[in-house]
Structures are given as C-alpha cells and as structure tokens.
C-alpha cells in the first residue's frame, strides 16, 4: 500500500541534494566552520611535533561532531520551515523510509566534510592522515553521529530552545563513538598494528548498529503527534 | 620495612557528609515539591468552592 521504501528514501535524498546544490547553505557553513575550527585549534594548542600527534585526531573528531551538528540542525529546520514535514507525513510512506532518507543525506554531507579535512589536516599538521583504515573509521564514526543526530535533531527542533539543545543532547550520547573514533584514529596515525586498535572499530560498529535501530524505531514517534 | 597506615579519616567523614547530604537534599526537594503541590491543590479547591 505504501510507496516502496527505497523509492521514498531515494526521493528524499535526491530532494535534499538538489536543494543543497542550489543553496550550498549546508556544506558551505559546515566547511567554513570546519576549516576555521582547525585553524583556531592549531593556534590555541600551539602544537609541537609530539603534541600534534596526540592531539590531531581529537581536533579532527571534535571538529567533525560540531560540523555535523550544524548540518543536522539545518537539515531538520529545513523540514520545519513551511511545515513541509507535514506534507511528508501526509504521504503514504513509512516513517522509517523518511528517516533513512534524511539520515543518509546527513551522513553523506558530514562525510564529505571529513574527506575534505583529511588531506587538509595532513598538509597543515604534517601528519599522515590519508589512509584506507582512516576512511573506514571515519565512515563508521560519522554513521553513528548521523543516525542518532537525525533522531535527536528531529526532537530538538520541536523544543523551545531549538538549535541550542542539539549539542547538549547529542554530545553525551555520542561519547562512546567519539572516544572510540579518537582512539582508533590516533592508533592509525601512529601506525600501530591492527590488533591493538581493532576493539575500537568493533565498538564503533556495534554502537552504529544499536543507535541506527533505535533511531529507525524512534523516528516515527518523534515526528508524529 | 615499616609501613604506616595513613590516617585519612577526615576524607571518609567528608565522603559520608557529601553522600548523605546529597540524598537528604533530594528527599527534601521531593518533600518541598510535594508540599507546594498540596498547597496549590488547596487553593484550587477553595476556588472551586466559590
């Protein structure tokens, strides 16, 4: 009876990408924020060679989390402006498909920022950040933020404090991901053997799965009255 | 080797005071909110009577 899951998901993703190509509101602000954040961190920490090695993955992930929060807020308030989310809810589509569409859009946008940051930080911090495993860890970490973030953003845009509440709600819940991702990236940068940091990757994957399931189930409750 | 057991009872005392202080504060806040609610209820009842 419902429009097929995949078709809805793809339509939502295509819609978000088209709107984004048009306005460049999301990627633009996220990217600008990310670059500024990296520059400010390098000033603030006055990093020498050794300190840099320790701090670089922390800087990377903190920047990514905050950039993704910017994007998530924007992406959800876009649905709230003009109440267009109501039009989505009026359509014969499953709420999980709507969630999947919004979530994958947010995931890809943040991943683009991450992929841009890797070479940039490689140059600016003189650290070997571009590697296959780094990419895997990055995709895994961002996947988890994007799924819980999409769910929580759908909640916080409906609160009185609106945008301000998303980081407060998201950061603590994202801690397991953040910590694991930082640990794994630090290990990758210092060229540690896979065995020594495989646990962190496992945690990221488990948390990703749990969070995405909760978010898929919870989204319907959040958007409906 | 002489090992002297450190004397740090004052920290223990502090911990006990803080722990039970926090518990009492919570119980007190529940009680205070309860009393406020009762008072509100009385006011509403009075208004309903009138």
């Amino acid at each position: 009876m419902n429009t097929p899951f995949l078709q809805v998901m793809l339509a939502v993703i295509a819609k978000d990408f088209r709107a984004e190509l048009r306005s460049r509101e999301l990627i633009g602000t996220m990217l600008m924020f990310a670059v500024l954040s990296i520059l400010v961190f390098s000033f603030a920490l006055e990093l020498d060679r050794i300190a840099r090695q320790e701090a670089v993955s922390g800087v990377l992930w903190v920047t990514l989390v905050f950039a993704s929060i910017l994007g998530l807020n924007r992406s959800m308030s876009m649905e709230r402006e003009n109440a267009s989310i109501e039009a989505l809810l009026l359509a014969p589509v499953s709420r999980a498909a709507l969630f999947a569409g919004k979530f994958i859009g947010n995931f890809v946008f943040t991943l683009i920022i991450g992929l841009f940051l890797l070479p940039l930080m490689t140059v600016l911090y003189n650290m070997p950040l571009v590697s296959g495993w780094m990419f895997v860890v990055m995709a895994g970490g961002i996947f988890g933020f994007a799924s819980t973030g999409t769910l929580l953003a759908a909640m916080t845009v409906q609160t009185r404090a609106r945008e301000a509440l998303l980081p407060i709600a998201l950061l603590p819940v994202a801690l397991p991901l953040l910590l694991s991702a930082v640990k794994a990236s630090t290990a990758i940068i210092s060229d540690a053997a896979f065995d020594t940091w495989a646990t962190w990757l496992q945690i990221i994957i488990v948390v990703d799965i749990v969070y995405t399931v909760v978010a898929l189930l919870g989204f319907g409750f959040v958007v409906e009255e | 080797m002489d090992f002297v057991t450190p004397s740090n009872g004052e920290y223990l005392a502090l911990a006990v005071v803080v722990s039970f202080g926090a518990l009492l504060l919570f119980v007190g806040s529940v009680f205070a909110r309860y009393r406020n609610a009762q008072r509100d209820m009385d006011v509403i009842e009075q208004m309903a009577e009138e």
Binding site: M1, Q7, K15, S84, A91, E224 | -
Partner: protein, 239 residues
Amino acid sequence: MSDSSPNIIEVRNLAKTYDVLPVLKPLDLDIPRGQFVALLGPNGSGKTTLLRLIAGLIKPTAGTIRIGGWQIPQETEAIRAQIGMVSHKPLLYDNLTARENLRFFARLYHLPPQDIPPRIDLLLKRVGLFKRAETLVRTFSRGMLQRLSIARALLHDPHVLLFDEPHTGLDRDAMTILDNLLLEAHQEGHTIIMTTHHLESAAQLAERAVIIYRGSIACDTPTSPDLPRTYANVTGGIV
C-alpha cells in the same frame, strides 16, 4: 473494501483530548461523496483538530473515521493515498523550483514515472503557474504558494481534499483565484472539507456548513446567504 455507503466520510464518536483538555467532544459526521463542506468556528473551537484527524496527522483519543471504506486509526496508511491537504502553511521546499517540488511529491505518492511530467504540466497550467515552473519557490508570493500547494494536493487525484484556512493572508485577487480553483475541484467531483474564517467564501462555495463550537457540532446546515447571521447566533458573535 467494497463500499456501498453513499458517504465517503463517516465519523463516529470521534474525540480528541490533549492531556485532560477535551478539544473535540465525541461527535458524529457523515459526508456524502462529492460534497463541499465548510467547517466553521472560532479559533480553538476544534475545527482544525477535526481536519487534522481526518488527514491522519493526529491520532484520535477515541472513535473512528471511515474514509472510502478504510478506517482511521487502524488503516491510516491506506487512507493517506486518498487524501490531499492544503494548509495555511505552504508545505513546500523553498530551495526547489515549482516543478521540482511537484516531482518530489509525485514520487512520494508513487505515481507511475511516465505519468509524472504530463500530470505536473497539466496541474501547473491549471493553477496558472506553468510559466513559473522553473522558478524557485522561495521567490513566490503568498498567493502563488497557495496555488502551488493546491497543485501538490491534487497530484495523486485524491478522493478527498482538505483545506485548512486557505484564505489566510491572501489579497482580494488571490482569493478570487483560490475560490475559482476550489469551485473547479468541486465540479470535478472531489469531496472537499474546508475550514475558514471567511464566511463570504464559505457561503458562496460550500453546499453545507458545519459550525464547531467548544468542541462540538453546534450547527449543521445547508449554506445560504444568511450564513454570517447563523454563525453569529451560534457562536455569540465570536469570530
């Protein structure tokens, strides 16, 4: 789901309570196929709640709604495909063009791909926006947004059209265009339920006026030029 009843919408014992506040007290309402009904009442009377319940946007506290044989809340999903709604908010995306907006919603309603372009052209012509098809919705005036919303609601050719305060914020000319579109849709055989404060339009367009007051149906009457007076009698002059 063979449906022999002449009524496309049958509301039974429908009630909605927010927390403990009864917004809608248990009410019954039958609407025959093809009728144009105006839902009237002061702000907060519950008319918008009733409309949103029929649209499946909110769940009833008690009671059922049957639409075309399907039942809310058990079969809400099946009902969605039969309903088009226009709210006083446009429910459109600012950064997409008129055509892109319609194409997106056409895909959500699972229209066959080959039918989508001609259907969009047809509707854009009908609401007089064909020349602005490639313009960003952000630049549209209130009246144009309203017309595009109507095109969006008509995309999947729903049996039932719901309008929530469509006249709000429109100027004279835009109102005339809107009224004509509403009449056209009615003549095509769509069942229409419209909430409005604009009694004049309601009296002209609708065949039947249902006045909701304090969460109950206070008056259910065929429309006549006398409607404003009837309304004032029922609600004590509150608009």
